[in-house]
Amino acid sequence: MKLSDLVEELSLEVKSCKDGLDNEVKGAYVSDLLSDVMGNSTDGDAWITLQTHLNIVAVAGLKNLAGIIIVGNRPVQDEIRQKAESENVTILVTPLTTFETAGKLYQLLK
């Protein structure tokens, strides 16, 4: 499944790097602790988080994640969008909670 399929299925708002919508989603990881994501996420995961600190961009790039899904319509600052654009990291936003997002994604990916 591609990131673009998730955008359609979950009505996600694309905040950065449309080019990344072709990325293959191999799985998903849910965590708000960046140290945990750095340690335990895997290549190609969609990362579900409420964290909107600038460092999420570097973590997603470092771990080669498929994209970041920000829950609860949390605002993504311009600075983060610009950084994500230049680092080719796709950020998506949903009004859903973490629980709802993960549940739907699990159904789609299992």
Binding site: L34, S35, H53, A58
Partner: protein, 246 residues
């Protein structure tokens, strides 16, 4: 240059997780008795016991810095250090208007006692000091600096409530003046584990919540006088100022 022994991270009975016998006066007496020259009173998201500690230390050789340990919205702990209580209270005003809603549950978290310099209880703080604030870490740093204070990343080696546990890593852009290691971290181990941060000044402190913990870890500042300005020079290794710990 004079050597000043400093423990820059001490909680009082205002912090819900600290013991009731950590009154401002008791903290000052204990620190003085241990030969410490500088302490910072750093309660969680509040500076209401700073004045009492500074007053209690008036007739001693101990310098009490006005501090606070702020929980950012990402639940990273950041130490703010100032010379004057007024500045810490200015920061407190900002923190208080950005608190998570809710009252402290004394049974669950412990009492939050505001005391004076004579060990008399002035009142109980009802705010949820143990919780996070709504202030993102970068806003916390920028606010501390705009007030002329020093910002130190608390216990970066801890797996909870540290800037590294919460945000993965530290960047130069964040603007920390120093990084703190918790009191059990050996210098040798820190130099290996945190080698990538060796351009920063490191401190280590007791993070005392109990009287017997005060001064369990100290650092030595080689500075002219015990002020934030001199400590800032020490953090930058400027003009012969420096900070050391073993």
């Amino acid at each position: 240059m004079k050597e000043f022994k400093a423990d820059l991270h001490i909680h009082t009975c205002l912090s819900p997780c600290a013991e009731l016998d950590m009154s401002p006066l008791a903290v000052v007496n204990k620190a003085s008795g241990k030969g410490i020259d500088i302490i910072a009173v750093t309660d969680h998201n509040s500076a209401e016991n700073v004045l009492a500690a500074q007053r209690a230390a008036l007739d001693t050789d101990l310098t009490v810095l006005a501090g606070m340990e702020i929980s950012s919205s990402e639940e990273a702990h950041i130490l703010a250090l100032f010379n004057k209580v007024e500045t810490a209270i200015a920061l407190q005003d900002i923190v208080y208007s950005n608190m998570l809603p809710g009252e402290n549950d004394e049974k669950m978290y412990g009492e939050q006692i505001v005391a004076n310099e004579y060990d008399e209880v002035l009142g109980f703080n009802k705010r949820l000091l143990i919780g996070g604030t709504l202030l993102p870490a970068q806003d916390v740093l920028n606010t501390i600096h705009s007030l002329g204070g020093l910002a130190v990343a608390s216990h970066i080696d801890k797996e909870v409530f540290s800037i590294i546990s919460q945000l993965g890593f530290i960047t130069e852009d964040m603007g920390f003046d120093a990084l703190e290691m918790s009191r059990n971290m050996e210098r040798n181990t820190a130099e290996i584990t945190f080698q990538m941060y060796n351009s920063y000044a490191w401190i280590s402190s007791s993070d005392a919540h109990h009287p017997e913990d005060i001064g369990k870890r100290t650092v030595s500042f080689f500075i002219q006088e015990p002020t934030i300005e001199e400590m800032s020079l020490a953090f930058k290794n400027i003009d012969g100022r420096k900070v050391e710990w073993e």
